[in-house]
Amino acid sequence: MNQLVVMPVLIPLACAALSVLASRSARAQGIIGVVGTGALLAASILLLRTVLEHGVLALQIAGWPAPYGITLVADTLSAIMVVLGGITGFAVAIYALVDIDADRREAGFYPMLHVLLMGVCFSFVTGDAFNLYVCFEIMLIASFVLLALGGERMQMEGALKYVTLNLVSSAIFLSALGVLYGLTGTLNLAHLHQLMPGVAAEHPDLVAATAGLFLVSFGIKAGLFPLYFWLPSSYHTPPVAVSAIFAGLLTKVGVYALIRMFTLVFGDLEGAHRLLLILATLTMIAGVLGAVSQYHIRRILSFHIISQIGYMVVGLGLMVSPDPDVRRLGLLAAVFYIAHHIIVKANLFLIGGIVRRLRGTEELRDMGGLYRQMPWLAALFLVPALSLAGIPPLSGFWAKLSLFRAGLQAGQWVVVGAAIAAGVMTLMSMIKIWNEAFWKAPPETDATAAITIEPLDRGRLAVLLVPAVGLAVLTLLIGLFPGFLFDLAGRAAGELLDPTPYLEAVGAVATGGAP
């Protein structure tokens, strides 16, 4: 049973190896891509079901007991995140069948897609801080290749910024790990949780500085204000399938790492949570303001990622409140928001990509008339767009509602006000895309030559639509039946606040054995 924890890592690894072996046949790689990510999704759902039934699962790699070996742990939060990774991977693998051109496929798109998923899922299930660093690097190197694959000028410029900022973040992460190890003598997350109160009492300044290093490092990866500038200058450059998986998953790995670190290890550091709350509020506003001035579909959506990251981190920042109810509700809202956001944001990128193919451009000013041509596509776009803005009864409404409730209970009026303002501006932005791309008459001048793309026949359009419709249906389902996800998120929040099951599953640490 515990072996299930390693499946979300092994399946993508095996698929990556198979894809390399099949590198001569684009067809075989495509089949491996869809079947492999489908298997990942199935395994992750099985993992979630097992975790719900039997509680937290832990696996000691090679049988070395914690804290000496590397531990893989799946609690409810990890399992939810892995399922979301599986959903996004599956959707993007289908979309990529049409979206990724032959050159990129030959250059190794599919192996890198699997390696990326492996890094992402590995980060979610690891119970060791240094292992988390290694997973980040696996994920990063794959994302570097995916971003640069194709070698267009814009891609190269975007990749340079993306790679630089992420390597800086890694260097800071590594330094933080060094100091943390020097302070505590362990890197096992569960063990760190047990040692931290004693260490924090002895060296409060050093612990605060270490937490600050982690905050900056994960903040860069998550796209927190004022560390997000790499994101909107790189996410719109690669092919849409790559953008979509980046937008759905990568920043959320940063948010996951923040949540894990600042509950399990630095859970009692009130100053850090206060700082997170302030940064998150600024992130919501700065991201949405950035989006208002843009007229390029994927750049608008990229800025909205930042703004939405703010909402998630607000949920974590509400840990400043001493009231356990507020803490629980805040973390619940953060987890619910992540789940809602990954599905919706990946979908918006996928639909944006379909619009790009139909119109040959991503500049909103040069578009128009899509509603007359394809009213159902306009309707399909509205589902994730309105959900992102938080219109009931879609998934975003429940996510925002629980966040507002937590914020109001905590008495954080400014934060809630900023969140409402950002929500209104998100709605404006989505309406702007809808008006410009779908509703208004197309401009007189013929601007279709901006991006040269092979014409889209019915069969290929259908392949692009399958994942978009699937994700839209998921959004609707979460919106109409939010109880299931609320229960899951509530359970995850409970485990984050009281990590006893987590510690027991990791086991052997209970003695607090000296390193």
């Binding site: 640069a148 330094s175 390193p515």
Partner: protein, 115 residues
């Protein structure tokens, strides 16, 4: 010894940051490389500097004698060096491709993805 290591690590960090703030892409790579080295040395140093006491158990003994060097920071640094090497070589190739695609190595000229 500790104080020299601390100064060395500080110099490495500051040189790395200084080089990264220059406009040249090659200096950017060197800067990142130095940052990585600084982090590695930091891990090594805060793990405890112990001279000439390798963590080896004598034949027949269950555990090494007390006060030996902690092997874990060395393992961490080794892993980090390998990863750093891979990323730096990737970055060097990327910089070359950026130069070929844009015809410049001045980071201030690489602004077309911003507006």
């Amino acid at each position: 010894m500790l104080i020299f290591m601390a100064i060395l690590i500080g110099v490495l960090y500051s040189t790395g940051v200084y080089l990264m703030l220059r406009r040249n892409v090659v200096k950017l790579i060197f800067g990142l490389f130095l940052l990585g080295h600084a982090a590695n040395l930091l891990i090594f140093t805060v793990g405890g500097l112990v001279r000439a006491r390798p963590p080896l158990a004598a034949v027949g003994a269950d555990a090494p004698p007390p006060d030996v060097a902690d092997p874990l920071p060395q393992a961490l640094v080794l892993t980090a060096i390998v990863i750093g090497f891979a990323l730096t070589s990737f970055f060097a190739v990327l910089a070359k491709r950026v130069f070929l695609a844009t015809g410049t190595d001045d980071t201030d000229a690489l602004k077309s993805t911003e507006s």
